[in-house]
Amino acid sequence: MDRSKDNANPTILNASDLPSRRRELSAKKRDDGGTGLFDGLVPAYNYLNDPFDGPLSSSDSDDDSFEDIDEQEIYDLIAPISDPEHPLSLAELAVVNLPDIHVEPPTSPQSSISTVVVEITPTITHCSLATVIGLGVRVRLEQALPPRFRVDVRVKKGAHNTDDAVNKQLRDKERVAAALENGTLMGVIRKMLSTCE
């Protein structure tokens, strides 16, 4: 077998129990309590789509409304990252949890910089890969968020024996940059991110 695992038998969450946005959406959409079974009976293109009437666009009328980047969106970005030890996602292993993600608005009206704080919970308190997981989350967010966000990834207080040391490493910009130069480490992280769709 390959290298022994820190935690060979982690607890696993079920996919339907993970927080998701669709839940609120669909609940909002259907006020009649149905599942929309009859919606497909009459094809939509029959009467609605008359191409002769004026300039046609596929625009939904509420294009002007903003959908701000929120905690759930951050969660959706990092939830599918896979654990370096198990073929399971960080969400299934409860390493990242929705309540542990915070988006902090800019501190002053002049500033446009928001901060995203993500606290990760390793599956066991002596997990030697906590730093790698933290780094993976960080890389993912830096790739996926616009530059007006600062990313702060930490280990949740008390979730790790040496959380201070790990946090120090994750916060130190130079060490992070140096780590990302390391080919083997980047290889591991790339593999972790490969499950992100």
Partner: protein
């Protein structure tokens, strides 16, 4: 020149010519023109030649001649002489392959006596041992074929030889040592298989095993010029057959295979696991009993610690194979094998839900569905413990983990004992091993589903699944118990408040449908009254509680035995609701349910349309109500949606009826069985009321359902011109206008005979219809033109080649060019009325034809036309391409790409852009090479359609971007297309753009729509990965 001389001369020059010579010699032998003796004598001279190659060729001649000689030409004596002669040639180191071929040919002429077979084998082994001394693979192949033939035809003889000759087998095995050629190896495995399976090999078992196992695992890649077509899988299969040939191999095979499990190579491991599976199935219960526990101890790690999913599955197959084999033997060994498995699974269950408890579920499921013997041992060893753990569990997630295991066991139980409707693998008389635990398990899950908080979605889903599976298991639950389950399910559907994605409700409905498949009468008895009680006759309070109930009800119709009952009940409810004056919303819901149910059971409507009463019971009352104008006319029937549903329901029922009945319906097409006068009704009466106009919605669907042979109520030309006039009334509602136009399409498609198609259409377009007259063109007339065309296009009429250019000419019309351009999208757009089931004429090639007639013309017009007309061409083109299957478009794709790219610059035409991006996406996927030369303009256009370069917005401030962006759908599509670029085009083409693209995409990451941002993230990742490919190489 003698034949042999000729043969030797041709041999090196042309094998084919040589064969002709040999065939001629054979014919001469057959005709007695050539005596066998002189034939052999002629060879003599060359067989004593100093030149080895010459001797070999001579033997090849002999072999070939013999292969051409038909049966009964040579006498037994002659054949024996020849045989002795050939065998004597074994001593010569040249020409062995030809000797073997000659012997094969001889054998085919007549079977040998036993002694002769022995003699040949013996002298082969004595003179040519080991075979590897012969360097030519094809020479060895001939010998192997000879031996294979001997093994097949002289099986007993050779077995006796082995039993009476000490040391024979070991010499025989060593004979094949060192063979490497894949084709020969296939032969060797096949030859050795017989001694393995049939001979008494006790002393030589190890040697024999190692002779084949040395080749394990097989790593062979067929050469690119491979002519024999032997795949690595062929070799693997044959080798595996050898390994599993006899239980005598077990002491060597099982340790050796387990040893291979330690290799890090996945392929070798997979081979070892499949070999273990076949060994476990073949060695028999007595042998497997000795190794079962060792195997379990080794195999379990593949599942507990999954390295790769396929390996875990194969390990489970192996474990199941062991259980299956042991079930054939006595109970003791099976017990001894299953106990430790059950014990270990029980231990893992203690801390469910974990990775290992999931693995336990897999073990138990894999093993329990093997046989009733296994379930009889596994269930008592696992279930009591599982139920105790469940009672003492402190978290819901643990309970869920435990129930997941239980559900797997019930599924296994169904595999073994069957469901109510199908038999399992076990003997029917056996009692279901689950019986003892059913009451407790039922309690636990009913309780769990009923009393757990609704936010425990996954837990409740597992309970529901468990209940469902138990209700399916054959002879397990009583009807009362199943009734209890049904009651719980329908009360979830009816009473439970909605939560989240409503997964539980949906599962409950689907569960009811599944139970209905097994036990229809209980569902009708239990669930129907409950559902009907929830459906009011009149909806007064505005509550929509009936919607989920109707959905569930309609879904049940998909079950064969429920169909009739569901239709009847919904129909009655509808009549009652109409009488009580219910709101259109409620009536629409009821009609939707009815339509859904009918669509589900459409095949039943077609089975026996004549004897069904649905026309009398459903269609007639609906039509009469829709068309009535007196006080009986329900207000709800003025609703256009209601009428559309009515039309669709009638369409489904009328469609399968016979022509005679269609004629009866056709007469009433516009009067709709009301007895009123047709001429006073639309479309014949232009001044009719808007209520009367709405009946056209219904008649459109009825018209669609009729066969094309049916007789229309008025003369065809009168009907057409009435519809044309009616469609031009400016005050029509969009739905009624559309109905009237669709009637035109249907008539043009079905009812105008092919012979008069051209003249009828010409009358409309030119004289006297004048639809094509430039002065009279307006948007209503354009609609009519396209409605007519829409009906004609699928008929694939040759007439199209004259109409299309006329329509295309309108693209440059200053006022209506754009409207015409937009019309093209309607032509090929899928339509739910113009279909084959509606008896329409739909030619299989009509899309190709329209493509060929339109697309080259449009590209030509495009290149010649002015700047004002160009956008119209692009719009028309997009309208056609949008509905074209990609394999038609692909032919012209090189010429289309520049036009597609230009479509991306149009402003305001978002649908056109979307279609263009979609098509570019397909081109990228299927023919990326075509796009490569346009990569720069493709990338910049996609970026322009997905991001701005304007300063990024700050939170709270209003967004004042410079250029307006296309809507989110286009932005997303553009990003999707851009995501594919680095994946499909060559690395060096893409790399120069990487920096630019990833930089621009940071703006898309800040898009105001979440959907766009999500696609931007994927896109940026794909582009960020671009240069990292280099690191790997």
């Amino acid at each position: 020149m003698s034949d042999i001389q000729q043969y030797l001369l041709d041999y090196d020059r042309s094998k084919k010519d040589a064969s002709v010579t040999a065939e001629a010699s054979a014919t001469r032998l057959q005709n007695r023109e050539l005596k066998l003796l002189s034939f052999i004598q002629e060879l003599g001279e060359y067989l004593v030649s100093e030149d080895g190659a010459m001797r070999a060729k001579t033997m090849a001649y002999l072999a070939e001649v013999l292969s051409f000689v038909p049966q009964k030409v040579l006498s037994l004596q002659q054949r024996n002489l020849l045989c002795d002669f050939i065998v004597s040639r074994f001593e010569d180191s040249e020409g062995l392959g030809s000797c073997a071929k000659a012997l094969i040919a001889l054998e085919e002429l007549g079977k040998w006596e036993d002694e002769r077979a022995v003699m040949i084998t013996e002298s082969l082994l004595n003179n040519t041992h080991p075979l590897r001394q012969y360097k030519s693979a094809s020479e060895r192949y001939a010998v192997l074929r000879l031996l294979d033939k001997m093994m097949a035809n002289y099986r007993d003889v050779l077995r006796n030889l082995q039993e009476n000759t000490p040391g024979f087998l070991s010499r025989f095995i060593a004979y094949f040592d060192g063979e490497k050629d894949p084709r020969n190896l296939m032969m060797v495995f096949s030859i050795l298989r017989a001694p393995m399976a049939e001979w008494n090999i006790s002393a030589d078992a190890q040697e024999l095993f190692e002779a084949v196992f040395n080749y394990f695992p097989i790593a062979y890649r067929p050469p690119s010029n491979d002519v024999y077509g032997i795949t690595v899988q062929d070799l693997k299969d044959r080798l595996r057959d050898c390994i599993s040939a006899t239980p005598d191999f077990a002491p060597y095979a099982i340790p050796a295979l387990l040893d291979k499990l330690d290799t890090p190579m996945v392929n070798a491991k997979r081979d070892a696991l499949t070999a273990i599976t076949s060994v476990a199935s073949e060695y028999g219960p007595r042998t497997m009993a000795l190794y079962s526990i060792t195997l379990w101890d080794a195999l379990k790690f593949e599942v507990l610690n999954v390295q790769e999913e396929s390996l875990a599955e194969e390990a489970l197959n192996a474990l199941a194979a062991i259980a299956r084999t042991l079930s054939q033997g006595t109970n003791g060994p099976l017990q001894a094998y299953l106990r430790p498995i059950a014990k270990e699974c029980n231990e893992h269950l203690e801390d469910a839900p974990t990775k290992q408890s999931q693995a336990s579920a897999r073990f138990l499921k894999a093993i329990a569905n093997v046989s009733p013997e296994v379930t009889n041992i596994v269930f008592p060893n696992v279930l009591p413990n599982l139920l105790v753990l469940y009672q003492n569990a402190d978290t819901t997630s643990k309970r869920r983990g435990l129930l997941e295991v239980f559900v797997q066991l019930v599924r296994a139980d169904i595999d073994v004992y069957g469901s109510w409707r199908s038999l399992g693998t076990a003997d029917q008389s056996l009692a279901n091993a689950l019986t003892e635990y059913k009451d407790q398990a039922l309690d636990v899950m009913l309780n769990g589903l009923n009393s757990a908080p609704i936010k425990e979605v996954s837990f409740r889903l597992v309970c529901l699944d468990g209940l469902l599976q138990m209700s399916k298991a054959r002879q397990l639950l009583s009807d009362n118990q199943i009734g209890e389950i049904i009651q719980l399910l329908h009360s979830i559907v009816i009473h439970e408040e909605s939560y989240g994605k409503d997964e539980v409700k949906e599962a409950a409905i689907n569960g009811l449908v599944e139970i209905a498949h097994q036990k229809p009468e209980i569902v009708i008895h239990k669930a129907f009254p409950a559902f009907l009680a929830e459906l009011p006759d009149k909806d007064e309070d505005g509550s929509k509680a009936y919607v989920p109930v109707l959905e569930a009800f309609a879904k049940l119709a998909s079950e064969e035995q429920m169909f009739g009952t569901v239709i009847l009940r919904v129909k009655n409810k509808f009549s009652a609701a109409v009488k009580q004056g219910a709101t259109p919303t409620y009536l629409v819901a009821l009609l939707s349910a009815l339509l859904y149910a009918l669509t589900q059971g459409e095949s039943r409507l077609q089975q026996d349309p004549e004897s069904s009463t649905y026309f009398q019971d459903i269609v007639l009352p609906l039509l009469q109500r829709a068309a009535s104008s007196d006080s009986t006319h329900p207000a709800a029937f003025d609703n256009e949606t209601t009428l559309d549903l009515v039309g669709r329901i009638c369409n489904l029922i009328v469609r399968p009826l016979n022509l005679e009945q269609h004629d009866k319906v056709a007469v009433e097409l516009y009067t709709l069985f009301t007895g009123s006068s047709q001429s006073a009704l639309p479309p014949f009466q232009v001044d009719s009321t808007s209520e009367q106009g709405k009946t056209l919605i219904v008649s459109t669907h009825v018209l669609a359902s009729l066969r094309k042979e049916a007789t229309l109520p008025v003369d065809l030309q009168v009907l057409i011109s009435s519809l044309v006039d009616y469609s031009q009334i400016p005050s029509l509602s969009p739905v009624v206008r559309s109905a009237s136009l669709r009637q035109l399409s249907l008539i043009c498609n079905k009812f105008i005979p092919a012979s008069s198609l051209k003249s009828s259409i010409n009358q409309l377009l030119h004289d006297p219809g004048e639809l094509f007259s430039l002065e009279k063109l307006d948007s209503l007339r354009i609609r009519i033109i396209f409605a007519i065309l829409k009906g004609v296009v699928p008929r694939n009429s040759p007439f199209l080649s004259t109409i299309y250019p006329e329509v295309l000419a309108f693209l440059s019309h200053p006022q209506y060019g754009k409207t015409i351009a937009h019309g093209f999208t309607t032509l090929l757009q899928p339509d739910d009325l113009l279909t084959k089931v509606n008896h329409c004429q739909i030619s299989g090639l009509h899309k190709q034809k329209s493509f060929a007639l339109l697309v080259p013309n449009i590209t030509a017009i495009f290149s010649e036309s002015s700047a004002e007309t160009k956008p119209n061409c692009l719009i028309a083109l997009s309208g056609i391409l949008k509905w074209m299957p990609f394999d038609i478009v692909v032919e012209e794709v090189e010429r289309l790409v520049p036009l597609l790219l230009q479509s991306l610059d149009l402003s305001g035409e978002d649908l056109v852009k979307e279609a263009a991006i979609d098509l570019l996406l397909s081109v990228l996927r299927e023919k990326p090479k075509v796009i490569e030369e346009y990569i720069g303009s493709l990338i910049s256009r996609l970026l322009n359609n997905s991001t701005t370069t304007a300063t990024r917005r700050t939170v709270g401030s209003s967004n004042l971007t410079a250029a307006p962006l296309p809507p989110p759908k286009v932005r997303t599509a553009a990003l999707k297309c851009l995501t594919l670029v680095p994946d499909k085009l060559r690395h060096e083409t893409v790399l120069p753009y990487r920096r630019q693209v990833t930089k621009r995409l940071t703006f898309a990451l800040d898009d105001r729509k979440r959907e766009v941002r999500g696609q931007a993230v994927k896109c940026r990742r794909a582009w960020l990965d671009v240069d990292e490919v280099d690191d790997d190489e």
